[in-house]
């Protein structure tokens, strides 16, 4: 469908790329070469790669984004699969998106109340005689709340992927004597991979720069690159260093895109190229 759409339709997107992506990115890149006194320098990059602080932070960011993505995926895939077999599935899907329309800060405050020492969960456990547990400021709580926020962003693309799946293939596989598990791993999962991929991208990429939850729920026990950028832009007003970290984040994202991006051969479908 190369010439199916008039090129004029693409103009807004290209304009957007130029004005709101490339221009700001050049600005960030330019700023990353200035120190706090607005002198040209390479010191920001030197600081970044020489100080253990920033390297640890980079590792933290990637690691936590990874864990959050995996947890979200593990919760979302079965949910999307079950949704697919429900009556009124479109309605249920909308009901999964609905909670995302409530302000994030308010939901985080609610979690503080629920997870607190005096909170809902500990009161419930206390009912069975358990002593109050420290839930807040733990990795588990932080990852749970982060996954909570990302779940709808994962379920939606996976659900769309499953909807696309040809039911006959699943039935055929079962008729041929494959177990449910075999059908799932050999038929369902591979055929819904594209949905999973866009879900993973929609969750992993923003998770790299999480900052608010690390403080609100994590108590700043974990510091990610997002936190550091926030601090450099708003507290120290050292935009140079903040931009440097921003550049690193963008480069990290690009590397991930190229590693996970598909190669040309995958583009061949049905024996004919449709590019």
């Amino acid at each position: 469908m190369r010439k199916n759409v008039n090129a004029a339709f693409y103009v807004p997107y290209v304009l957007w790329l130029g004005l709101f992506v490339i221009a700001p990115m050049l600005l960030i890149f330019y700023q990353s070469f200035f120190d706090i006194n607005h002198h040209f320098t390479l010191a920001n990059y030197a600081t970044y790669f020489q100080s253990g602080t920033y390297l640890t932070m980079t590792f933290n960011s990637v690691w936590y984004a990874f864990v959050i993505t995996v947890v979200t995926l593990l919760i979302s895939y079965p949910a999307a699969l079950i949704l697919h077999y429900m009556k009124h599935k479109q309605l249920w899907l909308l009901l999964i998106i609905l909670p995302t329309w409530v302000n994030l800060l308010l939901k985080a405050y609610a979690f503080i109340g629920i997870f607190g020492k005096d909170g809902g969960i500990n009161n419930f456990l206390g009912f069975f005689g358990a002593a109050p547990m420290q839930l807040l400021f733990t990795d588990a709580a932080f990852i749970f709340v982060a996954a909570y926020i990302e779940i709808p962003f994962m379920i939606l693309p996976i659900f769309n992927g499953i909807e696309e799946l040809d039911e006959n293939l699943v039935n055929a596989s079962q008729d041929l004597g494959a177990s449910s598990w075999q059908t799932f791993t050999k038929v369902t999962l591979p055929l819904t991979m594209s949905g999973v991929k866009s879900g993973v991208q929609a969750v992993f990429i923003p998770s790299l720069s999480l900052f608010m939850l690390t403080r609100l729920i994590g108590g700043n026990r974990v510091i990610t690159l997002g936190t550091a950028i926030e601090e450099h832009f708003l507290t120290t007003m050292n935009w140079g260093m903040g931009s440097t970290i921003g550049v690193v984040l963008i480069v990290a994202m690009v590397i991930i895109m190229f590693l996970t991006g598909e190669r040309a051969k995958h583009r061949v479908k049905g024996g004919r190229r449709h590019v």
């Binding site: 706090i36 503080i112 403080r215 700043n220 120290t236």
Partner: protein, 357 residues
């Protein structure tokens, strides 16, 4: 395709309805014409009833825009594009904005209520002679404790926080100047220290506090303390007042050896346009009755002594929020330090947060 088109159509109809509704509400609030005051304020930092009263008395309409950090507000004013007539930065930001020529000097001849302010709160080093600023509220940095877990009187000084008894029990406010400052005061140094060895010593001392630190959080510290999440916290008096209102087990003390004294101040940024409305508003807000009403709503300490006299006795003589003269003398106001020094405070604090156990 039909479905998509009708969807687009429906959205456009709804948008038009929303725009019409919003325009009508704007009109009903009188937001048209030039008789306005564009006021950039912290969120929920003024009694809305007073705004209504001011609009009724003077006929000016107040457009309120809110910000949540001094630096973000500074960036917007510096960058331009806004038309703020009045804003409320903290003291160090007043100094920074004045140095960067972002403020318009006050015309004292147009101000009527200046005599209402206590002299302790005027002529501060961040703005000598109050050339640019009028104090709005003030407060201190101190320790909040929960009497369910801590005996009253057990905590008197900063050094008490370092006691082994309080393992994993302290919440700190996420602010480099304040927490580094606390460590500096406990070493007997100034909160405006600029030399690296002293700062390094303060950082080293702070590291020894880390087993006692439960979390480093920001505004949500109020929610945590209100919910009895931790027995101890280091925070500002304004936040303390708010949590004490919610949880009667909480108490606030200012260590006698010294602490920070902070101010939020009215200033006129260079983007101002409506000078008549500005001075009408400043005079309205320094009126003792109005200031007292506002203090009652916001819950911070007022620098307006005439207004303070109108507050209930339990409030105006509360030692936690209006400390004794001798404590007041030991309080230190933050100076606007050089960017590299601010950077140093922040780097040390970041390291403290990162390598905590």
């Amino acid at each position: 395709m039909k479905k998509l088109l009708s969807g687009i159509f429906a959205i456009i109809i709804v948008c038009m309805a929303l725009a019409a509704g919003s325009a009508r509400l704007a009109k009903s609030q009188g937001a048209t014409g030039g008789n306005v005051l564009n006021f950039a304020n912290w969120g929920d930092y003024i009694d809305p009833a007073l705004i209504k009263k001011f609009e009724k008395e003077t006929g000016y309409h107040v457009n309120q825009e809110t910000f949540d950090s001094n630096e973000a507000m500074y960036t917007k004013i510096k960058q331009g594009g806004t038309h703020y007539d009045l804003t409320v930065p903290s003291e160090y930001m007043v100094e920074k904005m004045a140095n960067d020529h972002l403020l318009v000097p006050l015309d004292k001849s147009k101000l009527t209520g200046m005599n209402n302010f206590g002299k302790d709160f005027m002529n501060q080093p961040f703005d000598p002679g109050n050339k640019y600023s009028i104090p709005y509220f003030w407060g201190t940095l101190g320790i909040i404790y929960n009497d369910k877990y801590i005996k009253p009187g057990a905590i008197q000084h900063w050094d008490d926080l370092w006691s082994k008894k309080y393992r994993g029990q302290i919440m700190l406010i996420d602010s480099a100047r304040d927490i580094m400052g606390m460590s500096l005061v406990s070493l007997g140094k100034s909160m405006n220290t600029t030399d690296t060895p002293t700062l390094a010593a303060a950082k080293a001392k702070l590291d020894t506090l880390s087993p006692n630190v439960k979390a480093v959080v920001a505004d949500e510290i109020k929610m945590y303390m209100g919910n009895n999440e931790a027995p101890l916290a280091v925070d500002w008096s304004g936040e303390a007042a708010d949590m004490m209102y919610e949880n009667s087990h909480l108490h606030y003390i200012v260590p006698t050896e010294g602490s920070n004294l902070w101010f939020d101040n009215f200033v006129i940024p260079k983007t101002a346009e409506h000078y008549k409305a500005i001075y009408a508003f400043l005079n309205f807000m320094s009126n003792p009755k109005n200031a007292a009403q506002n203090t009652d709503y916001v819950g911070y300490s007022t620098p307006n002594n005439a207004a303070r006299k109108l507050l209930p006795k339990s409030t105006r003589e509360d030692k936690s929020f209006y400390p004794t003269e001798s404590t007041m003398k030991r309080l230190e106001v933050y100076k606007d330090l050089a960017p590299t020094v601010v950077g140093k405070y922040n780097d040390y604090f970041l390291e403290f947060k990162m390598f905590r156990h």
